[in-house]
Structures are given as C-alpha cells and as structure tokens.
C-alpha cells in the first residue's frame, strides 16, 4: 500500500514538473515579471488579445482558368493557320461563369481530323465535342480544371507569404481557409494598418512591356472614334497616367499591342531607385531569355514607343532610342519612396496567378486586447476562487483534495498549451474558467457517491473505493460528450472560437487525470494515516 502510494506520488510530481516546464520553460528569474515573460514566450496570445488583423480573402480562380483558355485559343489559331484550316471565330462564349469553354465556329468538315489531332496533341487537358453547323466546343477536363484552380490557390498563398515575409510581420498565419471555396486566411499579429498590407497582398503585380500603337486619348470613346469605331484585332485599350505635364488625375488611354514583349516571369530582380528627375522609381533586371526577347523587340522597334504596363494599367510610356537588352525602369505617376519600395518588393515576390478579393476583415486594436486580457483574467480569478472556497466549505478536508486536483488541472491545461504551441484567445480564457467549473463536476460526482456509500454504512476505505469505481464510468461518458462538442467546434471554428475549443479539450483531458488519479491518491494517503474506524472528513 505504502509503496504503491509512493509510486503514484512520483507520477504526480513528475507530471507537475513536466507541465510547469511546458508553461514556463526555464525562466530567466523568479520575479513576477520574468515569470510572466517566460509564460507569454511559450503560450501565444491570439489576435483578439494581442491586437492585429485577420483577413479572409478569396482567390478569383476563374482568372487563372481564363489565362489558360486564352493560351489555348492562341494555340488553336496558330495551329489551324499552320494546317491551313479556315475558321470563322474562336472565342469563349461565357468567360464569366465558364471560362474554360472555348467555341470554334466555321470549321470546314474536311478539317475535322486535323482539329482532333491538334487538340489531342497540343491541348490534352481539353475535351472536344462537335456541334451543329460546323461548330466545335472545347472544355477542360473536370480533374484538370480542379487541379488548375487548386494550383492557383496554392500559388497565391506562396506569393502572399513571400510578400508578407518581406514586410517583416512577425508570426503571420497564411493558410488555405478550408471552410470556404478557394479562400485564404491571413492573420497578422500587431499589424495596426491593414490598408497598406492589403494593397500589397492584393496587387497581382502583372508586369508587361507592350508596344504603343496609339494614344494618349482623353477617354476610351475618343480612342474608338480615332480608329473608326473598331479596334485593330491585335490591339487593346488600357488606361494610364496622364501625359507628361498634365494633372496627375487626368485620364489617359493608350492603344497597345495585345502581345507582350516582356512578361512578369521574365523578371530577375527589381529594386527601388530614382529616375533621371530624382523621382522615386523601380529599376528592374530581366532574365537571360527575357532579355534576349526584349533585345529583339527593341531592335525591331527603334523610334517606336513602348509602354510599361502593371496590372493592366499603363505606368509609363517611353521612346525606344536604341536596342535595350535586360534592364528597365518603372516611374511615372507620382510614386512615393514607400510605394517604390513596396512595388519592387511585390515584383520580386512574383505575380499572383489570379486576382484576390477580400471577404472579411477584422482589426483588433491593442487597447481593446489589453482590456480583454484584464477582464478575462479578473473573471478567471474570481470564478476560480469562488469554486475553491465553496469546495472547502462544503466538503471540508476533502475540499482540499478537490482544490489540489483543480489547481493541478489548471497547470496541466496551461502546460499542454505551451507544449502544443496553442493560441490563447479571449474565449480560450473563458474555456479555462469553464474547465474549472466543469472539472469540479468530476470531484462532486465522486464525493457525493462516497458520502452516499458512507451513509449506507460502508467503512471509509470501502466507501472511497466504491465511490471512485461507480463514478468512473459516468465521468468518462460526460467527458466524451463534451469533447465531442469541442472537437466539432475545433473543426468548424476559426480564430477565437478555435482557441476556446482547444482549452476546453485540453482542460477536460487533464481533468480525467487529476479528478480520478490524483484525487484518489490523496484519499488513499489520508486513509493510510488514519486508524481503523476513524471518520472521513467529507
């Protein structure tokens, strides 16, 4: 008996030490300040307590599908021309909702075989079906479409992570938000100015250099009129900054080539710099291959104008004086130094595969977080004291037993949080309080049962034994049901709610150990010191 008890005492002390280490690690010192610091180093505070920004954004995956489909259209046109098959039109009938659908019109019947060959050889990810009146329909195979969309989300996450890392935000969370479709969850602790970060994340950073065919025009209507109402098929109209010297908010439209001489993926580096007027600008360098293409382009177009286009907006227009190989500059507009820095960083981090849209934005100011910590801790201390004092009054000596178990429960709960690097949120603090309230349930169940057995005339050792063994099944049942609830919360919840589910689950698991194992050991220890026939204080 004594030996058994000693063994159990060692287990309990071991658990206490292990979990205390989980909470505190090795603290610098033993003053209150040092201990608090050691604790906050291990247990991270959630955004709602420390302040920060929480964003949910959606990747417009159809953008990526559109790019792929437009590529496919280019391939089709090129190949059909090569095989000398005539066609009336190749287009996307519904680019908004079904961007992967491509319609071919006016393919002569004798072109059928060649078209099928082209499709199976060059566009294996598409299904081809023929319709009436020499039309054909291409649409992407469902599996390919899903892959393409998921890849867009993964790439977007990577790009956003690159950008945020360069901003120097500490401990950001960037992950797919599984609860929605193509959504990303971004949490930025301590960021008090979401505006700038949002702009940086949202910028698709699609850099292109195109040939200028006409402009600037004061409006898109004016451009159309100039071209007699119809745009040349290989040109597009893009908005841009005003002509040099004009007020910066004046509209200007340029007619530029549809094909780009240089694309974002040809970039090797981008750095903030200043242009010849001393204005902030971004200096970029091209890769070898991109540089070669750029050299060919500029050699062929000396004295023409080129446009630097960023996210479908003309940033700058310049004359080509001589062939350029691999460097360029983006200035124009009225870039501030900060904007030049941000833009070069965005360009370095790569383009987003698709646009993003913000769905949810929550900012917690640090002042509110500080208030929340104060309130949460106050409530926790008052709630705990109330329970501890009540147990002492109601169960006398056995109350000490319950209180020891409860305090150990708390230590284990916080230790768990330290080891698992769980995040403590305000509802999480509520979970801690609730654990105390619910954890004491196990003690009450056992104690009431012991009292009942004592009333029925059992001796204290046998009453304790019966009390524990009868209550055990019930305790397991009650814990399982609450943990089921908490698990569902964990799966469906985000942020603060998840924190609540975590503390509740850890707390209840710890309670199984403290209320049953620890409390039993204390009872046995008390009984072992009593004479046969002595009453139990409960």
């Amino acid at each position: 008996m004594q030996k058994n008890l000693l063994w159990r005492l060692i287990v309990i002390l071991g658990a206490l030490l292990v979990f205390l280490f989980g909470i505190l690690g090795i603290p610098q010192g033993l003053s209150g300040h040092d201990l608090l610091k050691a604790m906050t180093d291990r247990i991270h505070l959630g955004l709602d307590l420390r302040g920060g920004t929480h964003l949910i954004l959606q990747v417009q995956v159809n953008d990526a599908v559109n790019v792929d489909a437009q590529n496919a259209i280019e391939v089709l046109k090129e190949q059909l021309n090569k095989h000398k098959i005539s066609f009336a039109d190749i287009s996307q009938p519904d680019p908004q909702n079904n961007p992967d659908h491509i319609q071919l019109k006016g393919i002569p019947p004798e072109g059928h075989k060649d078209l099928m060959d082209i499709a199976s050889e060059r566009l294996p990810e598409y299904n081809v079906s023929s319709g009436a009146n020499n039309t054909y329909m291409l649409n992407m195979k469902p599996q390919m479409l899903t892959d393409l969309k998921n890849r867009a989300v993964t790439q977007a996450i990577e790009t956003i992570r690159n950008r945020i890392d360069q901003l120097g935000v500490s401990e950001p969370t960037i992950q797919e938000h599984g609860l929605g479709q193509y959504q990303i969850l971004v949490q930025l602790p301590d960021v008090d100015d979401p505006g700038r970060v949002k702009d940086i994340m949202q910028s698709t950073a699609m850099l292109e250099i195109k040939q200028v065919i006409g402009g600037p025009y004061p409006s898109d209507q004016a451009a159309l009129q100039d071209k007699g109402g119809v745009l040349p098929p290989d040109a597009i109209l893009l908005p841009g900054h005003g002509a040099p010297g004009a007020p910066p908010d004046q509209e200007a439209w340029y007619l530029v080539s549809r094909v780009s001489a240089v694309r974002g993926k040809d970039l090797r580096d981008a750095q903030p710099s200043t242009d010849q007027n001393g204005q902030p600008s971004v200096h970029f360098t091209l890769t070898g291959e991109g540089g070669q293409r750029f050299y060919n382009f500029t050699s062929a177009h000396v004295d023409d104008r080129l446009a630097v286009v960023l996210d479908n907006k003309v940033q700058e227009v310049a004359n080509i004086k001589e062939p350029i190989r691999d460097t360029g500059e983006i200035s124009g507009g009225s870039m501030t130094e900060q904007q030049a820095k941000d833009l070069s960083m965005i360009l370095r981090s790569g383009a987003l595969p698709a646009g993003i849209k913000y769905l949810e934005e929550r900012t917690v100011g640090p002042s509110l977080g500080a208030d929340s910590i104060r309130h949460g801790v106050t409530a926790a201390i008052i709630g705990m004291l109330a329970v501890l004092i009540f147990m002492l009054i109601y169960y006398r000596a056995a109350g000490i037993n319950a209180d020891v178990a409860l305090l150990l429960n708390l230590v284990i709960l916080l230790g768990f949080m330290g080891y698992f690097e769980a995040v403590l949120t305000l509802p999480g603090i509520a979970g801690v309080i609730l654990t105390v309230g619910m954890g004491v349930d196990s003690n009450v169940l056992i104690f009431e049962r012991i009292r009942e057995e004592l009333r029925n005339g059992k001796t204290p050792p046998s009453a304790v034994d019966q009390g524990f063994s009868h209550a055990w099944i019930t305790i397991v049942d009650t814990h399982v049901t609450t943990i089921v609830s908490a698990a569902i919360l964990f799966i469906f919840g985000t942020g603060p709610v998840k924190g609540f589910a975590v503390t509740l689950t850890f707390g209840l698991l710890a309670n199984l150990f403290t209320a049953v194992f620890v409390s039993r050991a204390i009872f046995d220890w008390v009984l072992s010191r009593k004479q046969r026939g002595d009453a139990l204080s409960i």
Partner: protein, 391 residues
C-alpha cells in the same frame, strides 16, 4: 455541510407542470424568432461593418447619428458599448453599406466623418498607424540620429502607439501624456505634423455578405453534427431511446437559449454559437449522470415500476446535479459580470443554458424514458423495463 439530505421529491408526478413551463418558454422564443425580433444575427452571420470608437469625453449619440447620416451613410445603428461612462460607442453599418469591391469603405467614411475641425495638413495621431508616425519622425529627425535612425524611430513610433493604446485606452487628449515613455525631442516634434482628435478606433470588424452566408451554414451544420454525435454516442453506450431522449432534451435547451436571445434582442455571434455547442455537451453531462444511475438502479430494483426507479435515480443524483450546476453557474456568472463586453453574449448564452440544461435533464429527459415505456405497455408489447445492455 450538506444541502440535501435524502431528498425524495416526486419529479415525475409534476411532469405536466414541467411540460407547461418548457412549452411557454419554447413557444415564446419561437414566436419571437418568427414575428418579433426574429433571429438577431450578429455581424458574423449577416455581414456588415462594426466600428468601435472610443472618445475622450462622453459622446452625444444623437449628434453622432446626425453627423454620420449627413455624411451619406444611412443604414446603421449606433449605441453605447458597455456602460455610457466608458465613452465608447459601437457603430453598426448594415451589409448594404459594405461594398464588395472596397470592404473597408464604410469604416473610412466613419473615420472621416468623426474627424471634425482638422487643422490643415495635419494627421490625427489617435488614429495613425506606426508606419505613418515613423515616416514622420524620419522626415523630421528630431533626435538627430545617424545610421540606425530607421530602427530607432520605428521603436519610438511603436512606443507612442503603445502608450496611446495600452496606457491611455486608445485616445490621447494631450501630447504631454506621451512624456516619460517616448523621447522628449520626438514628443516635441509631434505637434507640427499631428493633431489629437477626440476619438480613437479600437476595433473594426468587416464581414462581406458571402462570408456571412457561409458562416450561417457552418453554424447550423456544426450544431446538427454535434447533436448527431451525441445521438450516436449515447445510442452506443445505452439504448437508442436514451440517445433520443438526450438529444430531444438538448434540442429543447438550444431552442430556449436561442429563443431567449431573440426575446432579449441580443446579437447571436460566432462565440454565442460556440457557447451553445458547449452547452450541448454540458447539458448532456447532467442527462448522462441521471441515465447512468437509472441503468444501475434497474439492475438493483427489478420488481419496481420504471417511474419509481427514475424518480429514485433523480433524487439520488440531485445533490450532485445541483452542486455542479451551481458551481459551473458560479464560474459562468463571474465571466458574465467581470469578463467584459466582448464576452457578454458568450457568457449570457452559458448563463441561460446552464440553468435550462440542468432543469431539462431532470424535467425533460427522464420523463421521456418513462413515457416511451408507458407507450410500449399500452401497445401491448412486453413491459420491458430493461432498456439496458450491460457493458
């Protein structure tokens, strides 16, 4: 000390009173959900913009309402947050004022509206982010720093924001309040570029309509899964009728809690749903304790009627039920009273739910078992009072 000594109440005899009591509250709640306050969805579920603004003085709500309306925002509610002496108001913009394209338009508009009498060319220090303050200090260079200016001024800007937010609750009313925590030269340089408005934005929540619909669906799913999980577990541990009785009971608790929120017109937020899911687990605890005892007693008292066994079981566990419910209630009450406004809805749901959950495990769950048994007897089936598997 003991509250109950061998209690012997006839709970089942009062089942009609219990039923009436439950019906009154359920019907009142459902009526309110359908015809009165409806389901008061919080911002998480309906979408919209919430801006928490702290003032340095007690704000005049009517005046604020007028100003914001004048600025072109019409679908909004404005109310004191917490007690009025806290000088904090909550501006609640409807989802109609929350644009899909620019999610934070409404927030920017509110801040612009509240910033009255702006000295030209100056920035509001109470709503300026760290970066803006740092940029200003870098330009002014009041401390005449050399190479590590960037780092030092970032630290100064951080100190300014910390003092503003953590020491002065988000609003400074005087530049002198920064003295002590921030370099005096830096403080002295601030009034040239900054002014102090009479408010600071403490917290902003913007939820687009898409997310609102998504979260609504998830909340309902989570609740349904939770109930199904209980049904399966209890069906496995006991007989299926025990599972059904427990789930009906928990559904009753959920309905009354949500109904109470509708009657009181309190917003149901994500954390309230979390509280309700917790209650589903908690309320089951009480029910399971009673069921466990019924199962045990059925084995001991084979000759007695099920209604007597159930009554006896409830009485035997009454002391425990009241005690734990009381203790949990105590902790939840502490949360409600001292946990602050952010947790008010959450703790209110727990306060209501724990009262109802305790009541229902006695007044609803056990009578269902007896009613089922009576129904079986009436149908002429074997009066098996043993819906028990021994495990």
């Amino acid at each position: 000390m003991e509250f109950f000594h061998n209690p012997n109440f006839d709970f089942l005899g009062k089942k009609w009173y219990f039923l009436a009591f439950s019906l009154v509250f359920s019907v009142a709640g459902v009526w309110s959900m359908l015809f009165w306050h409806h389901i008061p969805y919080g911002i998480d579920f309906r979408g919209g913009t919430l801006v928490y603004v702290k003032f340095s003085h007690t704000p005049n709500i009517n005046e604020l309402r007028h100003e914001i309306d004048h600025a072109g925002l019409h679908n909004f509610k404005i109310q004191n947050y917490d007690i009025p002496s806290n000088n904090e108001v909550l501006i609640d913009l409807d989802v109609q004022e929350t644009s899909e394209q620019a999610l934070d338009k409404g927030k920017a508009q509110i801040i612009r509206t509240l910033e009255t009498n702006v000295p030209s060319g100056k920035i509001d220090l109470n709503n300026a982010p760290v970066l803006t303050i740092k940029q200003y200090l870098m330009d002014k260079d009041p401390m005449h720093l050399g190479s590590d200016a960037d780092q030092k001024y970032t630290q100064q800007a951080q100190d300014i924001v910390n003092t503003r937010d953590k020491v002065h609750g988000g609003v400074l009313s005087n530049f002198d309040e920064l003295k002590g925590a921030v370099d005096p030269a830096a403080v002295a340089s601030l009034p040239d570029g900054f002014f102090l408005s009479d408010f600071g934005v403490r917290n902003v929540e913007i939820v687009g309509p898409e997310v609102g619909a998504q979260l609504r669906k998830q909340a309902i799913l989570a609740t349904v899964y939770s109930l199904a999980g209980m049904l399966i577990y209890l069906g496995f541990r006991f007989e299926w009728i025990y599972g059904v009785a427990a789930v009906v009971t928990v559904f009753h608790d959920t309905l009354i809690t949500v109904g109470a929120f509708s009657l009181l017109d309190k917003d149901i937020s994500l954390t309230v749903i979390a509280a309700i899911l917790t209650l589903i687990g908690y309320s089951n605890n009480d029910t399971i304790v009673v069921f466990d005892r019924i199962r045990e007693n059925i084995k001991l008292m084979r000759r007695e009627k099920l209604s007597d066994i159930v009554n006896r079981s409830i009485n035997q566990t009454l002391s425990r039920t009241i005690l734990t419910a009381g203790l949990t209630f105590l902790t939840v009450l502490a949360l409600y009273l001292f946990g602050g406004e952010v947790l008010r809805g959450f703790s209110l749901a727990l306060v209501i739910g724990i009262l109802i959950g305790t009541y229902s495990s006695i007044a609803i769950a056990a009578p269902i078992l007896v009613a089922y048994q009576d129904w079986r007897v009436k149908k002429g089936k074997r009066p098996t009072a043993m819906p028990v598997r021994t495990r």
